[in-house]
Symmetry: D2
Subunit: 346 residues, 4 copies
């Protein structure tokens, strides 16, 4: 039994329960030891389905459990700072679902806390573990397309969230909430960003203006190397979930992503039709599993995390700069974001 | 002007008028010198549109025209024998649209007539001049897929012809009428056929039974080399025109054909939809043009035809054997067809 | 714990170990209670990885285990008859991987044994549980393509098995070994078969002649309803695993299957390239999981199996008739197979 | 003969000779009456191939020809102003290939000249006549995708022009030279542009810096309606010609464009490969033909042109603003371009 890593899951919402089930059933070398959630019904449902798993009403109780070696934090973003800092203080290895926090200042505080505690800390960006992105990254690194010069990354959700979740004070707004994955991919394929310029609008759902958010945005990126990127974000991919990335190089190009979900084509008088990937869990189910497997393996074998808090902060800075650019109608240097937001990171 | 080949078109029906327009406007080194058709309205329409073209009421008058060096015969199949033999007697170069004739005996007679007259004689199989089939043939010849071992050829029409044209006494029946292109492709890619086995039925349009025809058929081919082929024929591709061929080899495979007509994808809640090639002229417009260009070039430069009456007869023998197999429910050797059909070919 | 079904896996080979892992980790409501294999190394590897699972050296010991409620039999085909009959005698619910047996006589004996014992008996045909085939079946049943009239089913393996496994005395030969899935799909979409005609050859690997097997075959099917089917089998899909099915109907068509494995396109001077599904486990991983989940659910809730021994025998009769047709070069009625093979089924 | 429009082609370069051949052979109701080019060899080649066509050494001679009713001007951009103004003075109907001129001031002068002369004046943007764009426009107008909110338009050339043609003083630079088609499509689908922001670089061919040009650019557009657009331009589509446009709407999306040129897929161990549209003439051959046909039909029937000088100027203003934005690293209002460039247009 010593070869299994005992993991506790904090937060049993929609995504949290996927992590918990993956850890209980599908991740070799992991054992789901405990779960914590404030909602009694979610806790009890888990207790009934998985015997032998300890159940706690809040993260502090779970963190006191000596059997728990690592925690996966899948709570709402507004609680990330508190839970991560408590987990760091408890000395447990930490996996935290993105986004890291609501403000850059909070993120720097969290980063310092985990660095000071010396604990394992992996910020979740599951796309990096998707078979498609992994294969593309390998081909780029192998020189198949020469030198990458332009990145195009498209993220489009099939519908808008409820208005209360669109409020930029909760979500950070469209660019921060959705774009952070694309900005992370930008770093993965092209390196660090120097300048951004964004435009956007509440074009498909005018009611989003009431909470100060937008539903479509275009973000131009200039990387430190002088290469370019464009990120397209939308909440109205009404046909399904549209995630595509292109790495454009001097000797060719790689496109990642597809529309088709099940392998059937229907051919009738109306034309030839196929279905579409409906939403993120269908597209990235394997990536979520591969990522938490990576976390379990790294913690068990004492290796550093594949993605750190510094990675998460780097993507967040691009998000904040792009959001600022969209508001102010001008290009924004990434360094402006640090100035704009006083942090303890000094 | 001596560098232009003067061509006469016999038959101004739907396909004939395409040939006439191609020769008048789109085939370099050709001049449309004359047209002949029994229908006055078709003749007059042409005379009005294209000034300077001689117009005749029947093929015999056109054949007497000394200015006409070559003829393209696009009349109904039942007249092919008479027109081709008259044209051969007149000494003009001949292009004849497929199918060659209604019976193998007639075809052999025609072949002997043109061979005796020593005139140029090209039987039309436009698919051989399609950019896709040409590119595939080149790749196969270059060894890209190793040795071809199985051919799959699919021909599916978007609707059935009027019942009077389905009558096997007129059309030869589904297998002969539609399959002859696939049988010719079989020869192009795999060589000569030794045995066939066919099954079929009036499955989509039961009314076809009233004229003794079928609307779907499957034909297994065994080539003399021992390699295999399967031909799929249908009249109910209600979504469009479905023509696809696969050459299956020891080191890979080549697929020829596609569904999409215009380059647009529509993505809505109903899924992702594109249109379909509607019918043969949209699919093979370029091939018809390339074929008649080839005929003009070969005649002008005194080269032998790319496709001869012997090619047409070889494909016809497969059609007849497959039709016989479908009727009798047993495999048929190609040699049986010659025995079954007394010919002057001896 | 009473809500979990205790399953024993008999046979820990390549596919058996997938079943065992699925039951241990990925099938809700199932518990992997025991495994049995003659090879000590396979047993020990499992014991080391999964604590708390009982390990047996043969199926008889496992069948005596009172804790085991159901067995999954993934042994070599030649042992299926003995193991299934012993399992039936023990009163346990049975899942048996295809093919059922080497002879129709054996299959009938097995069927009678399980029917007499009154135990649950599900013969594995995982394609029926694939998301693509399920979605297609639903659309066909909903009338989206009108009445199905022709089925095309293609199964092509990326390489040939070792010659010793190609020996028809072991494998049943290409048509029986590979085609049984396609014949089962034929029954699923089109109903029962009346007549078959098959052609084949050792075209890509001439060395297969030394063991009396072939590597490519084409099988025409006539269903009892008069509708048609064509099955294409090959061992030389050197580019990957090529599994595609088309249901051709009076109002349209459905195509199931695809080539692409990871969602990337590489675009270089050589053209636009994507990869291919490499082999059956990558294509049907989800289907294997869904099928064993279905078995667990049906046994737990006391429902009859989704696929019975009678289904397996029906597919096997088509295989045998097609193999006979290929040998004798003539169409074969399915009823001939029963006559040819004296059985206790009388 | 009165029903034919007599057209003169001025400029017999690569594209000019396509226009001349189309008018000579493929455009119903048009007659190629005359050609003019300064190069004797090009003139003589045409005279040899097409008998009965008058040949002139410069545009002024051709414009004096009373038989010529309309001219197609396919000369180098730097001569457009002179030739168009001379043609307007001669009273002939004018088709002019894009781009209109090198400066906005020149374009306004040309516009005033043709408006004052009251002659037919059609500026060429052949994409508007492509079957794909036409079908997409119709679907958008029919409301299939709801209200368009974001346009993505990609134009990528397979290689860079010779450096002397890249010089922005000759070509206008990448953004003006290539992007004008995309900016015109932006107007076609989304309306007028208010602001642009562009970034770019000499990323694939560093030698372009020596002439002051770039090889990749991204342009964000904000339309007057508040909707958005992104244009991607590149000179290093080394795999072929990559032209794709997406109109993103509130109820769905339409994608226009495709990669595949010939309808074949090659499947080998290296993966599944198809070819690519090699360059603009293969992609837009039909569109060039349809556009000049439209011009002939409009002139013959006395209708106004489908695309005017005002359309060309509107696209040019976006090009100039985007070029300015790229140079100055800031968003640019379209009105700034008029201010920056003193014109006679007032």
């Amino acid at each position: 039994m010593s070869s299994l890593l005992n993991v506790g899951v904090i937060g049993l919402g929609r995504l949290g329960s996927v992590y918990a089930r993956n850890l209980a059933q599908r991740v070799p070398h992991a054992r789901l030891a405990a779960v914590a959630d404030q909602r009694a019904d979610l806790r009890e449902q888990f207790a009934a389905e998985f015997s032998g798993i300890k159940v706690y009403a809040n993260h502090l109780e779970l963190l006191k459990d000596k059997d728990v070696e690592a925690v996966a934090i899948i709570t709402s973003t507004s609680t990330h700072k508190e839970v991560v800092m408590d987990a760091a203080a408890s000395g447990k290895a930490i996996f935290c679902e993105k986004p890291m926090s609501l403000s850059l200042a909070d993120a720097y505080e969290m980063l310092h806390a985990v660095e000071k505690a010396g604990v394992f800390f992996h910020m979740g960006f599951q796309r990096r573990f998707d078979a498609g992105y992994l294969a593309a990254k390998k081909k780029v690194d192998d020189g198949v397309i020469g030198t990458p010069v332009v990145l195009t990354s498209i993220s489009r959700d099939p519908f808008r969230p409820p208005l209360e979740f669109c409020d930029p004070k909760v979500s950070g707004g469209l660019i921060a909430d959705m774009g952070i994955h694309d900005f992370d991919l930008g770093r993965m394929f092209m390196g660090e960003v120097s300048t951004v310029h964004a435009v956007g609008g509440a074009l498909a759902y005018p009611e989003m203006k009431s909470v100060g958010d937008i539903d479509n945005a275009l973000v131009n990126l200039v990387f430190e190397s002088g290469t370019l990127g464009t990120v397209q974000l939308s909440r109205n991919a009404v046909f399904g979930y549209d995630i595509r990335t292109e790495v454009w190089g001097t000797k060719g190009s790689i496109q990642i992503g597809y529309f088709q979900h099940t392998p059937i084509l229907v051919m009738t008088r109306e034309g030839i039709t196929h279905d579409v990937v409906p939403h993120f869990m269908q597209r990235f189910e394997g990536a979520y599993l591969a990522q938490i497997q990576d976390v379990v393996d790294k913690v068990r074998t004492g290796q550093p995390p594949s993605l750190t808090g510094r990675d998460a902060i780097a993507a967040m800075r691009i998000s904040l700069a792009a959001t600022l650019s969209c508001h102010e109608g001008r290009p924004v240097q990434l360094s402006e974001v640090d100035a704009a937001q006083p942090t303890t990171a000094g």
